[in-house]
Amino acid sequence: METLYKNIHQEIIDQCRQGNEKAQFQLYKLYYKAMYSVSVRILNDEMEAEDVMQEAFLKAFKKIDTYKGEVSFGAWLKKIVVNRSLDQLKKRKVQFEEVSEKNSQIAEYQMETKEVNVNTIKKAIQKLPDGYRVVLSLYLIEGYDHDEISQILGISNSSSRTQLLRAKNKLREQLKDEEIFSYN
């Protein structure tokens, strides 16, 4: 799927390389939803996310010559969006807390898999504290591993694992509440 992306839009990407404005806008239309989704999950603010996402596109067009096609264009672009979103989040003085190993023994809830409305999941993710939300998004949705997350957030590997567990538990609680609420 990822490599297919590259082949499908290669022509547009090449036109962007030559600074073709129409092609640039076309590429935006192809990728804005995914990129906006990444940014809004990290920042939890619609206007800020749109701004960061659009700036990331402009930056990508500027340095499109550095895109050598080793990964899919989407993955390359996403990296820029993630980095810029995190920079923006850090401007809000968000601290990614270190969690000590001792406190990290958290039992995982076991629940049956039920069909859940996507909007419910989105809202539940939005309600997570900044640190939990970012780690969970990067790991489960963006597909980063704990090494990458610890590097990008400047926290330890174990702290990344702990935050992921806590985030998942919190999410589970929220979804459970939601379920009860929707049944009532």
Binding site: E21, K33, E46, T113, I121, L140, K168, L175
Partner: protein, 195 residues
């Protein structure tokens, strides 16, 4: 490990919808505006770069031109300064050549005079006459220099200068030639006496 993680599963299942968020209305227009201004900025900065480059080249050329324009004057003034004087050389190259010819010829005449003097052919009285004559030429030359400095391109001054050189050379040559003649005659008579 354990059974499939509930949270992981529902997220993976809904990945597509999770990545299907729509920004607020008007984001296309906002992006288009940003895109236009970025591309415009790029073009302007490129233009500015070219303009600056052109300006730099122009300034370099202008400085070069000025340097070229200044240099011959500098050179001639240097020559004049070397002589410690303003002279015909400062008027034009042709006059400089004329001046060099005359000064060389006069110098040659004077060395001839000096050799004659060294040979004891010239009396103290004659030497003194020559010295006063040369001193007179020197003051005349200084006057002409002042005139030339005041009216650098006045033809009358230039002609006066040329005349001065001609006269000086003429007189020196005449004296030296006369002395040579006398010297020759003396030699001949000495010869005759010997015989």
């Amino acid at each position: 490990m354990k059974e499939k993680d509930y949270i992981e599963e529902i997220i993976l299942k809904n990945l597509e919808e999770l990545n299907d968020n729509e920004p607020q209305d008007g984001h296309f227009e906002r992006f288009e505006a940003k895109l236009k201004s970025q591309n415009k900025k790029k073009r302007i900065t490129l233009n500015v770069v070219w303009k600056v480059a052109a300006a730099v080249i122009f300034v370099l050329l202008a400085v070069n031109q000025v340097a070229i324009y200044m240099s011959p004057e500098k050179l001639t003034t240097k020559i004049a300064n070397a002589k410690n004087d303003i002279s015909l050389a400062s008027v034009s190259e042709e006059y400089e050549e004329v001046e060099i010819y005359y000064t060389n010829a006069i110098d040659a005449g004077l060395t001839q005079w000096n050799t004659l003097s060294n040979e004891g052919f010239i009396s103290a009285e004659e030497q003194e006459m020559m010295d006063t004559e040369l001193a007179e030429f020197e003051t005349r030359f200084k006057d002409l220099q002042e005139d030339l400095a005041a009216n650098p391109n006045d033809e009358r001054v230039i002609n006066a200068m040329l005349e001065y050189y001609q006269t000086k050379l003429g007189i020196i040559n005449m004296i030296v030639n006369k002395l040579e003649e006398v010297k020759q005659q003396q030699k001949n008579t000495e010869h005759e006496i010997e015989i």
